[in-house]
């Protein structure tokens, strides 16, 4: 066994080292496909880990301390603060809320801003960079009775102001003394409602914005004494104040939203990388097949002089492994270097600078995928190579074996495929999506292969189509070594990915830019005080064009127990995790909101008075594993309230209508300090008037322009979708590589055909036209099949995974399909042009 392996290695190496033998150049496609796939997977993995490493490195800075305690509506009690002071070496208290910033000129535009009131200890970690570079306490301090502020440059642009100007916030006036260049704890959020406006905590009372029930977030940030374990401190804190109702975060959860975004994006990009490897796998099969076909005479010779079939298989498997090792090494080098270069060059431009470095796990995963796919996709041609008939040497026409491989090799191929699927599931961040990916890949590969088979059958069944040129095209499409199967499968799969991405993107963009604005209100208003509601309603409805004003009471609370069990002990579905991450908006109502329908239980009577009852989002109930009669415990303003689920509602969140996942029955929340939120519809022309009417009179009320928010969301989606499309385009590059390999493999045949046609008197134009027709037909078939598969995939994802409405976007699908057709034609034209330039005589002699 060992000597057999040693012999196989010796012969394999000798054969490779002896120089480029027949068909060796075709292996360039093998290397290119493998390098592309491994690079994609290694790069995505490395980049994702660089981001995570950056988040870990900057955790304390991003959080603003070792631990952050967040409360809504109220600050911590003095007793709690005293305990925290005793347990920490430094503390900073920060208050955040939304507000309207108003220039002194009454005609100038107002802007929503994210207000941050900081104390003298801020920032505990990292440093705030301003322009001009001045100490923060000096910037924010009161001078001549006017408080100072530092703002985002963006806010100045929106308000048409500059450093030195003044701005009103609530009832107070602030001098803008600096622009914030870098805020250490401004966590990269994918979406925010307004630019930063930073003031002193001491200035906040002057604004009059701190009203009962206002949506104000109080952060208490701590630096722990050195040597104190953060988890132990948190356990201690929970035990000491079990009902404090604060959200506790440590530095390793500094930016959970960014972490989730990176996870999702890298999951998707990882799947694209795998698709590249899958498409490239077809190129690997073709390249190895072409290489071994050209080696048929050598294989037959080896068999004649006594090499067993198993030895032949082993020799060429070792050669494939050597080449795969070269390809994987190159891919790993590129996959490690590209993100590193990107991070070093552009990392500082990102809100969370990724940590450049070599990430062995990402590289090992990519290497495993590369080697496994190279071997799996090479097995079929390798297994067939051992079937080359040695006796053909006597006939001077050694033909490549076309038989199906033996059963043991088919089992090996199956095992290779299963191992690839298992590796995909094992290394994916989300198993459920990985199962979908594997299932989808198998299904779509089968469909593409089946379509290619059907085209071949159809072409063979087509008897004598009119015209010599068309006859030649049909004959070439139907011949046994036709390009149809590999091109339709590989380029078709690449195209399918691109079409699917384009269609999903078109559907989501349409949802944000067309469908939502149709239904959405023009404004959302926050923090309306109970004593302002009548005047607020009157002021808004007085503006011409406003309609459908809806206003409801609102306050926030955290879910702490589900049916009596603490939330961290309950298994909660992934799509319901959002509800326990932070504070939830709550309301109370006597009558059922119009937007949602009761699907279980009954709405309480309008005059209900009794133990706390809630109506719950049916989807959330499913995610929590509870139903009617079960309970939810919420911490509202530090007080635990346990309420029984009386009804379940099906809510369409996409409608942007006012609705709440949790609605209390009358009698529980009315007594708690709370504010109101409102929404109103208005034409675009009336938006400025509405904003002025509210902002000028109700300084504490924040107005969110829905159109602007949606536009901002659309811009972000556009940016993300271009990045995603860019990565998805790599699959087309892999498909094009396979196409190039297939065209190169058929070069000899094409040269011979062209030479024969020329000898028979066909002009250059005629021969060229014939080939263009063939590539056109091939490209068109691939475009139709790939676009069809891509559309089906997009439909499945949009309708079943995203639970969204579906509309076919013909321009998106067609432009992508036409691109594929153009690629096929151009590459075919190039290949044919080279073939046409060949001299006739040498080829006729050689044949």
């Amino acid at each position: 066994m060992a000597s057999g392996l040693a012999l196989s290695c010796r012969i394999a190496w000798r054969d490779l080292a002896g120089g480029p033998g027949p068909g060796f150049r075709g292996l360039a496609i093998f290397l290119a496909c493998l390098v592309l796939g491994v690079t994609a997977i290694a790069a995505v993995g490395s980049l994702s880990r660089s981001f995570v490493a950056g988040l870990d490195r900057d955790g304390v800075k991003l959080l603003g301390g070792d631990v952050d305690l967040r409360l809504t509506h109220r600050a911590a009690e003095p007793e709690q603060l005293a305990w925290l002071a005793g347990k920490s070496r430094a503390r900073s208290d920060v208050i955040e809320m939304r507000t309207m910033a108003r220039p002194l000129d009454p005609k100038a535009r107002r802007s929503l801003a994210e207000l941050k009131a900081v104390d003298g200890a801020y920032p505990l970690a990292g440093s705030l960079v301003t322009d001009p570079a001045l100490p923060l306490p000096g910037i924010l301090a009161a001078r001549d009775g006017v408080w100072g502020a530092a703002v985002d440059g963006n806010l100045l642009t929106r308000l048409g102001l500059k450093t030195g100007d003044r701005v009103r916030v609530g009832e107070a006036e602030f001098a803008i003394r600096a622009v914030i260049v870098k805020e250490p704890d401004r966590v990269a959020s994918v979406f925010s409602f307004g630019p930063r406006l930073m003031i002193s905590r001491d200035a906040l009372p002057a604004t009059g914005l701190v009203q009962p029930g206002s949506q104000i977030r109080y952060h208490h940030r701590l630096l722990l004494p050195r040597g104190v374990s953060v988890p132990a401190f948190i356990e201690d804190l929970k035990e000491r104040f079990p009902d404090a109702g604060w959200r506790i975060r440590a530095a390793d959860e500094a930016a959970p939203g960014v972490r989730r975004f990176v996870d999702r994006l890298s999951l998707f990009m990882g799947f694209v990388g795998l698709t590249v490897l899958l498409v490239g796998g077809i190129g690997i099969t073709n390249a190895v097949s072409g290489y071994l076909d050209r080696r048929a005479a050598t294989i037959a010779t080896l068999k004649c002089i006594g090499a067993a079939g198993r030895l032949i298989f082993a020799v060429y498997l070792i050669q494939v492994l050597i080449l795969a090792a070269v390809g994987v090494t190159l891919g790993l080098a590129l996959g490690a270097a590209l993100p590193w270069l990107g991070v070093v060059t552009f990392g500082h431009l990102l809100p969370v600078a990724p940590e450049p470095g070599i990430h062995p796990t990402a590289l090992a995963t990519a290497a495993a995928f590369g080697l496994l796919s190279a071997v799996t996709f090479a097995l079929w041609p390798l297994a067939r190579a051992r079937e080359v008939r040695a006796g053909d040497l006597f006939r001077d026409r050694v033909a490549p074996a076309r038989r199906r491989p033996r059963t043991e090799y088919l089992v090996l191929i199956g095992l290779g495929g299963a191992a690839l699927a298992a590796l995909t599931v094992a290394t994916a961040g989300d198993r459920w999506f990985a199962y979908w990916f594997v299932g989808g890949a198998i299904l779509f590969l089968s469909v593409l292969r089946g379509a290619a088979w059907a085209v071949g059958r159809l072409a063979r069944a087509c008897k004598r189509p009119p015209g010599a040129r068309l006859r030649l095209v049909v004959a070439n499409l139907g011949r046994p070594d036709s390009m149809v199967p590999s091109v339709v499968t590989s380029l078709g799969l690449g195209l399918a990915v691109l079409v699917a991405v384009a269609l999903i993107d078109a559907n989501m963009t349409r949802q944000v830019t067309e469908r939502l604005p149709e239904r959405a209100p023009a404004f959302f208003f926050l923090d309306i005080q109970p004593d302002q509601v009548a005047a607020f309603d009157a002021a808004v409805t007085a503006v011409d064009g406003t309609a459908n004003l809806r206003r409801v009471p609102s306050l926030r609370g955290r879910i702490t127990r589900i049916d009596g069990r603490p939330v961290d002990q309950v298994e909660i579905a992934a799509d319901s995790q959002w509800a326990i991450r932070g504070d939830r908006a709550l309301t109370y109502a006597a009558t059922r909101p119009e937007a949602s329908a009761i699907v279980a239980g009954e709405w309480w009577p309008a005059d209900y008075s009794g133990p706390p009852l809630i109506s719950l989002d049916a989807n959330l109930a499913r995610g929590f594993g509870i139903g009617l009669g079960d309970t939810l415990t919420l911490n509202v303003l530090g007080r635990p309230i346990t309420a029984t689920v009386a009804s379940l509602r099906e809510i369409d969140w996409r409608s942007l209508r006012f609705d709440f996942a949790i609605i209390f029955a009358p009698g529980t929340l009315e007594g708690a300090p709370h504010s109101h939120v409102a929404a109103v519809e208005a034409p675009a022309s009336a938006e400025d008037a509405v904003e002025r009417a509210v902002a000028d009179r109700f300084h504490n009320v924040s107005a969110i322009r829905v159109r602007e928010a949606l536009e901002a969301a659309a811009r972000i989606m556009e940016g993300v979708s271009w990045a995603v499309r860019g990565v998805a385009a790599v699959t087309i590059a892999a498909g094009a590589l396979v196409l190039a390999g297939t065209i190169a493999a058929g070069h000899r045949r094409r040269v011979y055909d062209a030479v024969v046609f020329k000898v028979l008197g066909a002009g250059r134009g005629r021969v060229l036209g014939g080939y263009l027709l063939e590539y056109g037909a091939l490209g068109l078939l691939t475009a139709i099949v790939g676009a069809g598969v891509g559309t089906a995939a997009a439909w499945g994802i949009v309708v079943h995974l995203m639970n969204s409405d579906w509309a076919f976007d013909a321009p998106a699908a067609l432009s992508t399909a036409l691109f594929c057709l153009a690629v096929t034609l151009l590459m075919g034209l190039y290949g044919t042009w080279r073939a046409m330039g060949q001299k006739a005589m040498p080829h006729l002699r050689n044949q």
Binding site: S3, I11, D15, G18, G19, G21, C304, I305, G309
Partner: protein
């Protein structure tokens, strides 16, 4: 190196080749083609047999079946006492490397291996530890000790066929199958190759089955077999032998 068989040994040893009612039928798009239609043949150890016949008569097919490269569809074939019909693919490969040498019209050297490696590889398959030393000896025997490191593409046709001869004889085979070994060579080079072939046969005592279109070449063998339409049309001592 194996010593030539003496007369006594030749009498007791099984024949080098024995076929009984040997048939070969192949499927083609036009239907079944009967290539060999019942060949009975016995070739003694150390014999040289020239096989002639028109194109398509079945000469090469007979060589392929005897070499275990094509499975007979009827009858039996024994080589050196071994029934080839009972061997599987790996068994046939083992049998070939231990008992057979083959020389082709087109040389069929491995283009990525040097002359020395081309000869040694067959010996390596047979598990010979001295593969390279023995290969060097064989190349010296065919007059190519100065070309051992050259690749086939760097050798003339005659030199390539010498390497092929060295490869075929290196393992001291019991049976050598040669298919038109001079078919691609000029007259002068052909004569050199034929002299070498018979010289090596004389040295090794190897049984030789030689397919050729050249009657003059077939006449250098001890026996001449004429195949026609898949059957042995004539089996007689060669004239040169008969005249001796």
């Amino acid at each position: 190196m194996t010593a030539p068989l003496d007369a006594a040994a030749a009498r007791t040893a099984p024949p080098a080749v024995r076929t009984r009612d040997l048939r070969l039928t192949l499927e083609s798009e036009a239907g079944e083609v009967n290539i060999l239609r019942g060949i009975d043949l016995t070739v003694g150890q150390g014999e040289t047999v020239g096989i002639v016949g028109p194109s398509g008569s079945g000469k090469t097919s007979l060589l392929m079946v005897v070499g275990g490269l094509e499975q007979a569809t009827g009858g039996t074939v024994e080589v050196a006492g071994q029934d080839l019909g009972v061997l599987d693919e790996d068994g046939l490969a083992r049998f070939r490397r231990e008992n057979l040498g083959i020389v082709f019209q087109d040389f069929h050297l491995i283009p990525t291996m040097s002359a020395l490696e081309n000869v040694a590889v067959a010996l390596e398959f047979a598990g010979r530890k001295d593969a390279f030393a023995r290969a060097a000896e064989e190349l010296a025997a065919v007059g190519l000790s100065h070309r051992t490191g050259h690749y086939p593409g760097q050798l003339s046709g005659g030199e390539q066929q010498r390497v092929a001869l060295a490869r075929a004889f290196a393992g001291s085979p019991r049976l050598l199958l040669a298919d038109e070994p001079t078919g691609n060579l000029d007259e002068h080079t052909s004569d050199q190759i034929v002299d070498l072939l018979f010289g090596m046969h004389a040295r090794e005592g190897t049984t030789l089955l030689l397919v050729t279109h050249q009657r003059s070449l077939a006449e250098r063998c001890g026996r001449m077999l004429t195949i026609r339409d898949g059957l042995v049309a004539q089996d007689r001592p060669a004239l040169r032998q008969a005249g001796d």
